[in-house]
């Protein structure tokens, strides 16, 4: 992906909205909003493939556009109350529409990679933090 096309900020805010709804903060565990989500999305956009990023954007669009299927309101998800948004986030993952489920899975997967690798989350499950990412390879 080439940086600086100008669409990143609004797109990222929509993706963050969907991911935050899927992995919210609770009394016991940090939510994805407690991680460096913006940094993660920037990294994901620049490091993943075009198709992976496209899938994430498509999944986000589907998430935003489908409250009609889950809470029966013709509203985008970002206009839902907190209670209805949580209900939407839960129900949309098991909708009977296969392609919708698949699209949502792409957000859940990417969000899971971010949330699940956060040191505080791992600590809560008695796991050591991941070591620093070397990002290296053999050159000789």
């Amino acid at each position: 992906m080439s940086p600086g096309l100008g669409y990143e900020a609004p797109v990222n805010s929509f993706i963050e909205h969907a991911m935050t709804a899927l992995y919210p903060r609770t009394a016991e565990l940090p939510g994805i909003e407690d991680t460096d989500l913006s940094g993660f999305l920037e990294k994901y956009r620049s490091e993943s493939t075009f198709m992976m990023w496209l899938g994430l954007m498509a999944g986000t669009f589907v998430f935003i556009a489908t409250p009609i299927l889950t809470v029966y309101l013709p509203l985008p998800s970002f206009l839902l109350s907190a209670r209805l948004l949580d209900k939407h986030a839960n129900r949309i993952t098991s909708t009977r529409f296969y392609l919708v489920r698949q699209a949502i899975f792409l957000i859940k997967l990417a969000a899971g990679l971010c949330w699940g690798s956060h040191p505080d989350v791992r600590r809560a499950f008695a796991m050591d933090p991941y070591p620093p990412d070397p990002g290296t390879w053999k050159t000789s």
């Binding site: 609770t26 565990l29 493939t49 997967l109 699940g116 390879w137 053999k138 000789s140």
Partner: protein, 505 residues
């Protein structure tokens, strides 16, 4: 030492060797080291970068980025879209698998002889002799007691309780420390993936390794393969670099995987009705059990327990599988506070899986941007096996003392009580209801003595072409019903021996 990594544009590479081997995974590395030990000058050309344990990333994100082919996003297209997980790195999928070592069952060679006119006792003896060597050289051992972890021990208990045979897995792993990191590359360096042994040995024997070098096409003079060409790709930015061309005086050995080998031969202009046909796999899925005590599935061998008791009937293999925490988070159904509530049980859950010895057959074609396009779906018989496998795994959890089962089937309850597991016998047969993957891929360049139905002969030589050999899972014409790495490596060694025998003195 001649490892040639990414080169920027303008710094083109030209090499000439006896044999060029495309791919450095189980098949490619085994073929290359056999050729090099036979005194030949060999070049391994690998699409991915070369990473050793100190370069492995640790996290699932890093593994998908650095080790997986296309971030693990390759999908088999059928009624459902099921992912195909393969690696793209020096060492190939041996870097990210659980290194499970199972000897090729004797019935497989009989089947190949009966149905394809290849195999039989002669091939069996040669393959098993190579498997003896592999087991010795790659330190195959049973999962050590201290590295089994609670999930694997529970599975053994469950199988005993359910009344069927099972065993601790034998793996290409020396002194496993039970870090549970097989799928992200073993940072402890205990797994004997081919980037740590056979590939460096090829270098020591005077060969070349060209990494970050996806092959665009095989080069031909008439019907004779004479080399390969392509363009380097930067391991991080994926920007295209310099052109490379590796000429082969004796033969080109294609071992790029069951999806990439057929695609490469198609875009190289190889003509055969059999090319890309006969794609098979072990589709599988996992069932979680929830236990009263913490299981901590992230500790212990990623896969330490298995059963082949159902290989013949109904055609299943059962195994434990500890997927990374991040993957569990996305694998459990639900979202929002409900999902977090479910994830809170993480320390008490473990996933065991089945792999179906499926009869269904698919195709592989070369698609846009040199990506293989796999079409594959399960027929009703295989879906019945698939469902039966889930029931067996659930029964095993119950026998091991699980208080709940999480089947992960859309349209069914999120969790089942032990007295409800028989509901799985009535689970839907629509593959779209399941979260599954295709592991253990076969076919696409299948072996056989009839060029009308087989691309390659019993030595991996492509019918109708000279100096062109395929030496990976794509030649395997049937579903093995067991983990294929041992078979792939031994077959590749057999084919390489045949090449050396054919070579002029």
């Amino acid at each position: 030492m001649s490892h040639i990594s990414h080169r920027e544009r303008g710094n083109d590479l030209e090499l000439e060797v006896d044999y060029v081997v495309v791919g450095s995974g189980a098949g490619g590395a085994a073929a290359a080291v056999t050729l090099a030990r036979g005194g030949a000058k060999v070049a391994i050309v690998e699409a991915g970068a070369w990473r050793d344990p100190e370069d492995y990333p640790g996290s699932s994100y890093g593994a998908m980025r650095d080790l997986f082919d296309d971030w693990g996003s390759q999908l088999a297209r059928g009624r459902a879209l099921w992912p195909i997980v393969q690696a793209r790195t020096v060492g190939g999928t041996t870097v990210i698998n659980s290194a499970i070592c199972v000897r090729t069952p004797g019935d497989i060679f009989e089947q190949w002889e009966r149905e394809r006119g290849v195999g039989g006792d002669a091939m069996a003896e040669r393959v098993w002799a190579h498997q003896d060597t592999l087991e010795r050289e790659l330190s195959v051992e049973e999962v050590p007691k201290d590295a089994r972890g609670h999930s694997n021990r529970l599975a053994m208990l469950g199988a005993k309780g359910a009344g069927y045979e099972s065993h601790w897995i034998h793996r290409y792993v020396k002194d496993c420390d039970g870090a549970g990191q097989c799928l992200q590359g073993c940072r402890a360096g205990r797994k004997r993936s081919t980037n740590l042994n056979y590939v460096p040995e090829v270098l020591r024997l005077g060969g070349y390794v060209v990494s970050s070098a996806p092959v665009k096409r095989v080069l031909f003079e008439d019907q004779r393969a004479v080399g390969v060409q392509g363009r380097f790709q930067h391991p991080k930015t994926r920007r295209r670099g310099a052109d490379f061309r590796v000429r082969a005086r004796r033969a080109v050995v294609v071992a790029a995987s069951a999806t990439h080998s057929p695609a490469l031969l198609q875009r190289s202009g190889v003509r055969s009705k059999a090319l890309g046909e006969g794609f098979r796999a072990h589709p599988g899925t996992g069932v979680f059990g929830v236990y009263d005590e913490p299981v901590d599935t992230n500790t212990g061998a990623t896969q330490g327990w298995a059963s082949t008791a159902f290989r013949e009937d109904p055609g299943l293999k059962l195994e434990t599988l500890s997927i990374p925490f991040e993957m569990v988070a996305s694998r459990l159904s639900g979202g929002g506070k409900n999902l977090i509530q479910r994830i809170r049980e993480y320390r008490h859950i473990c996933m065991w899986v089945h792999a179906v010895r499926a009869e269904s057959v698919g195709t592989v074609r070369n698609g846009f941007f040199d990506k293989p396009v796999v079409k594959y779906g399960l027929n009703k018989k295989d879906m019945l096996r698939f469902r039966r496998g889930m029931h067996l795994v659930a029964q095993t959890h119950v026998a091991a003392g699980a208080k709940k089962i999480i089947p992960g089937i859309q349209g069914m309850p999120y969790e089942l009580r032990p007295d409800q597991v028989d509901l799985l016998l009535e689970a839907p047969l629509d593959p779209r209801r399941y979260i599954a993957i295709l592991s253990h891929l076969f076919g696409g360049c299948t072996m056989g003595d009839d060029p009308a139905t087989a691309l390659t002969d019993g030595s991996g030589r492509v019918h109708g072409y000279t100096n062109l050999v395929v030496a990976d899972a794509s030649v395997i014409p049937s579903n093995l019903g067991v983990n294929p790495q041992h078979t792939i490596m031994a077959l590749a060694m057999t084919f390489a021996e045949d090449l050396l025998d054919d070579a002029p003195a």
